[in-house]
Structure formats: structure tokens, C-alpha cells
């Protein structure tokens, strides 16, 4: 049962990745200009006409886009992401260098956002009409209206420039020991910026779900029959967590999008910053590799959320939705 369900999800994820790659490939090839230049970016100027033609033939750049895509796809599924046109190194190597940093930033921020929003949202949702309840709505709207990178700029100007206690960029000190403390010091500001601009809105969503759930019929029935408050609250929380998880899943894509900007601001050497750099240097193979790996991260996070939901929501397990 579960394996079939997971299988279906995985196939969906692969289809998504396929569409992503096709769209981005097509978008970049539909752009005007000579294909070799598009492919080789800035380096193309150093090539003469014959070399350009040779490159075009080798990479079948003179063929229709769909054929080129087929060629690219064939190489990619075999694990060959090509070579960065700027650095000349294999794209897969570059991606693997960056992946740990992105994973670190993502997991740390997600962890604090989830823990924080569950705490705030539960307190606010369970105490209807209290200060927490009213305050959270306003604060969450306000905090989600702040552009994360701007908050980052303010942080840098205060903590790095004025107080000089935190590094303004990078993942570790140049010439430092590369130890854990060093990494944490660099992580604090980018992580704080993402957490502060996101935790409110997730907390608010949970708060609203809890409020909706508290007005359900079964809660009234349980209350009327003297069921212990703790027991009722446990039930409410469990049910409210289903739409909350769904919401996390829905916002994961834009969450990754936002992280790209913050990574760039703090020069956090992750996939997002890599993508921006690749776009600036028009490094086609690297852009495609970056898009695919960020897509893969999104798809796998969604799969994890789906699995958690599968555990929480018995209706999903019993297939009650499809009926």
C-alpha cells in the first residue's frame, strides 16, 4: 500500500523535474543570439568562426531545440551534467561542493521555522481572544512584508559594520580553521533573516487551522461529555497539523526561491548563490545543473512532507480522499 503510494509520488516528482528541465532548456534556447555564444557565454568572443562551428556541431547547437534537448537529457540521465563553460570543471563536481551549504542553511532555517511556528501558533490558536491571538495576526503580516534581503542589509550594517561581531559574508573565515564555531558564526545572520521573515506567517496559518478545528462539532461533543481538556487539545492539534503540513508543502518552492537571494547577499556558497553567479556569466551547463539540483531538492522535500502527512492523516492512508 505505502510502497505503491510512494512510487506514485516519486514518478510525479520525476515528471516535475522533466518539465522543469524542458522549460528552462527551451527558455534559454529561445533567447535570441548565436547559439555558441549562448552556450559558451563570455568565452565565445575568444573563438574564431571555425571553432564556433565545430562547437555548434559537437553540441548539435545547429539542430532544432528539441533535438538538442534530447541530447542533453540523454547525457544528464547518465549522470553527465557537462562542464562549466566558465570554470571548465565538471558541473557535478561544482554542484556537490555547494550542496552541503545549501542543505545546512535549509535544514537549520526550516527546523527553527517549524519549531517556532508550532509553538507560537499553538499558543495563539488555543487561547482565542487573548493578546497572543490578536498580536500574532498583526506581527505575522508585518514580518512577512519585510524583504528578507533588506533585513539582511540592516543586519549587516548593524552587527557587522557597527558592532563588528558577526561576519558579513561567506561560509567560513578566509584562512580560518574551518571549524564548527566558525561555520555557525557565518550561519547566524542568513539563517536569522530567513527565519524572522517566515516564522510568523507559518505560525499564523497554524493558528487559523487550530481555531477552525476548535469550532468543529466533535470538539463540542467531547466537551459536553467531559472529555479532558488535554485530550481534546491533542485531537485538535493533530487535525490542525494536516492543513499546516499542506501549507508548508505549498510554500516550499517559494521558500527556496527566497533562499537564493539571501545566499547571494551573504555570499553563502550554496546552490542559490551559484545559480545567480551562473546566470551572470551565462554559464549554460551550470545553470541547467543548478536548476535541476534545486528542483530535486524541492521535489524531495515535498516527498518528505507527503510521507509525514501519510503518517498523520488516516484518511490519506485509507484512501478516503479518492472516493
Amino acid at each position: 500500500m505505502i510502497s505503491k503510494w510512494i512510487g506514485k509520488r516519486v514518478v510525479m516528482g520525476i515528471i516535475v523535474l522533466f518539465i522543469v528541465s524542458f522549460l528552462s532548456f527551451f527558455i534559454m534556447h529561445a533567447a535570441p543570439g548565436d547559439p555558441a555564444t549562448a552556450f559558451y557565454g563570455g568565452n565565445a568572443q575568444t573563438l574564431n568562426a571555425a571553432e564556433k562551428e565545430r562547437i555548434s556541431r559537437v553540441f548539435s547547437l545547429d539542430r532544432p531545440v528539441i533535438v538538442q534537448y534530447g541530447a542533453w537529457l540523454w547525457e544528464t540521465v547518465q549522470g553527465n551534467f557537462g562542464y562549466s563553460s566558465k570554470e571548465g570543471r565538471p558541473v557535478s563536481v561544482i554542484l556537490f561542493e555547494r550542496l552541503p551549504n545549501t542543505l545546512l542553511l535549509f535544514s537549520v532555517t526550516m527546523f527553527f521555522i517549524i519549531v517556532g511556528s508550532i509553538w507560537l501558533g499553538t499558543v495563539a490558536g488555543m487561547k482565542a481572544g487573548s493578546m497572543w491571538d490578536k498580536g500574532l495576526s498583526t506581527i505575522s503580516i508585518a514580518s512577512s512584508s519585510i524583504p528578507p534581503f533588506w533585513l539582511g542589509i540592516l543586519f549587516i550594517s548593524f552587527f557587522s559594520v557597527k558592532l563588528g561581531i558577526l561576519p558579513s559574508s561567506g561560509t567560513e573565515d578566509v584562512g580560518g580553521d574551518g571549524g564548527l564555531m566558525d561555520k555557525i558564526r557565518h550561519l547566524i545572520m542568513p539563517a536569522a533573516v530567513i527565519i524572522l521573515t517566515h516564522v510568523g506567517i507559518y505560525a499564523r496559518f497554524l493558528q487559523e487551522s487550530i481555531k477552525t478545528e476548535s469550532n468543529k462539532y466533535y470538539v463540542l461533543v467531547a466537551r459536553a461529555n467531559g472529555v479532558a481538556k488535554r485530550e481534546i487539545q491533542k485531537g485538535i492539534l493533530r487535525n490542525a497539523s494536516i492543513p499546516y503540513l499542506n501549507y508548508i508543502g505549498m510554500t516550499i518552492p517559494s521558500f527556496f526561491g527566497g533562499a537564493v537571494i539571501v545566499e547571494s547577499l551573504f555570499s553563502w556558497a550554496g546552490l542559490g548563490q551559484l545559480m545567480v553567479k551562473a546566470v551572470m556569466t551565462k554559464d549554460f551547463p551550470l545553470i541547467m545543473g543548478g536548476i535541476l539540483s534545486i528542483g530535486l531538492l524541492v521535489v524531495s522535500s515535498l516527498l518528505i512532507i507527503d510521507l509525514v502527512m501519510y503518517g498523520v492523516d488516516p484518511k490519506l492512508r485509507k484512501g478516503a480522499y479518492s472516493k
Binding site: N225, P314, K315
Partner: protein
């Protein structure tokens, strides 16, 4: 057992139940009858102090000598837990959809009386069997059972706790004819065999004739007539009751 006097309920300043008075005598089945919107369900909510936000109840509702309307939260919790059991109209939505039946039935029955899960299992199995429900439902979720089965589960809990007072708020309106009949029989049995006092809220005169000993007629937020079912059916005193009875034949 229950004496309600001058009960008035206001929602946001609007009066929905006005100066109503009736009593429920021990060992009897008393029925409150009235159209929807007559204030029946609000009266029950007030007795159980589960009124919606913005609603306020004044007057007296003496339950074994204790006024429910000014009882503290703690006292009320204790009364709801040990003395009264309430079955609601919409059985399909009376259970938490993502918790297994066993856990929920336990909190509604054994858990209230401090029984262990083991004790609960033994006793509940017998009751379910009596109600022609398979024990397997304990391992299932509410959405896998029908409305009729869920309502019978509620009855099973009522049988289990044997409360001083059983309140049933339109328990049959979401069931089909056959199930309605079964349900009425169960109420009767509960009353006759265990001597449970029952307060039955309904809009269905047939149900009243079938089971109730005494009845309270409500119209537009007011109690217009009270008395034994036999007397009222013979000699309705209030014009509304008359109309109600006439419409039945």
C-alpha cells in the same frame, strides 16, 4: 432530578429562550418538542454550559440541587464527566476523524470513570456485541463507519457509563427510518433496564408517543406547555400544541 426555572438565553443581546421552566423527574423519559429554532438545542447547550461565544444564560437549572448555570468550570467538568451523558444529532461528525474508534470510545466511556483500557475492552466488547456491532470497528476510523453505526457507538458509551441523566439532542434525525426505530428501542431499554433518566430533544411527535413519559412543548423560545404525554395528547391546553397534534393525523 433537573429543575429548570426562568431560564433566559441571550445571543448578542437577542433573546432566543425566554423565561422557560420545566423539570425532569428521575427514572422518566422527558421529551422537549418544538420546531427547529424554537430554542430546544440552545436550552441543552445552556444546561451543559457549552453555549457559543456571545451567548449568555440567566435563571436557574438545578441538577440534584446544584445550579448548573453558576457552577464553576471545575464543578461543571465534574458533572459533565460523571453524571450526564449527551448524544448529539450529527453522529457522523461527533468523532474526531483522525483518531481510532477505540481511543475515542474509551475517552467517552471507560476514561470518564477511571477504568483501565483492559477493563474497557472487556466491557465494551460485550456492549458492541449487544448492539450488533463488530469488535473490528475499534480498530477503524470514524470515516470508515456509517452514521447509524456511529450513533450506536455513542449509545454503547451511554450504556457503559450508565449516567444519572442521558441527554439526547435530536439523535434520530440523521438516521433512516429503520435505524430510527432501533434507536428508539434502545432508549426505551436503557430507561427500563437501567432506570436511566432521559431528556430527549426532538421535533418528531411519533418519537414522543413511542417513548416519552412527559413532554415539554417549546415554541419560539418559550415553553408553552408541560405535562405527561398521555394527558397532553388527550387534552392539549395550548393552541400551538393543538396545532401540533392536529398536524400529526
Amino acid at each position: 432530578m433537573l429543575n429548570v426555572d426562568r431560564l433566559t438565553i441571550e445571543i448578542d443581546g437577542k433573546c432566543v429562550v425566554e423565561e422557560s421552566a420545566f423539570s425532569v423527574r428521575p427514572g422518566k423519559i422527558t421529551s422537549i418538542i418544538g420546531e427547529s429554532g424554537s430554542g430546544k438545542s440552545m436550552t441543552i447547550a445552556a444546561l451543559l454550559t457549552i453555549l457559543p461565544l456571545g451567548a449568555k444564560a440567566t435563571g436557574h437549572a438545578l441538577f440534584n440541587g446544584r445550579n448548573l448555570l453558576d457552577a464553576s468550570k471545575k464543578e461543571m467538568d465534574a458533572i459533565r464527566k460523571t453524571h450526564i451523558f449527551t448524544i448529539f444529532q450529527d453522529a457522523a461528525n461527533s468523532f474526531n476523524p483522525s483518531v481510532k474508534m477505540e481511543r475515542q470510545l474509551y475517552t467517552f466511556s471507560g476514561g470518564r470513570r477511571g477504568d483501565t483500557v483492559q477493563q474497557f475492552r472487556t466491557k465494551m466488547t460485550g456492549l458492541l456485541d449487544e448492539l450488533e456491532l463488530s469488535v473490528d470497528i475499534l480498530k477503524q476510523y470514524p470515516f470508515e463507519l456509517s452514521g447509524g453505526m456511529l450513533q450506536r457507538c455513542m449509545i454503547a458509551c451511554a450504556l457503559y457509563v450508565a449516567p444519572d441523566l442521558l441527554i439526547a439532542d435530536e439523535p434520530t434525525s440523521s438516521l433512516d427510518r429503520v435505524l430510527q426505530k432501533e434507536f428508539i428501542e434502545l432508549l426505551k431499554r436503557l430507561n427500563e433496564e437501567q432506570g436511566t433518566t432521559i431528556l430527549l430533544i426532538t421535533h418528531d411527535l411519533d418519537v414522543v408517543v413511542e417513548v416519552a413519559h412527559e413532554m415539554v412543548v417549546m415554541q419560539a423560545g418559550k415553553v408553552v406547555e408541560t405535562g405527561s404525554v398521555a394527558t397532553i395528547f388527550k387534552q392539549p391546553g395550548h393552541p400551538y400544541t393543538k396545532r401540533l397534534l392536529d398536524s400529526r393525523f
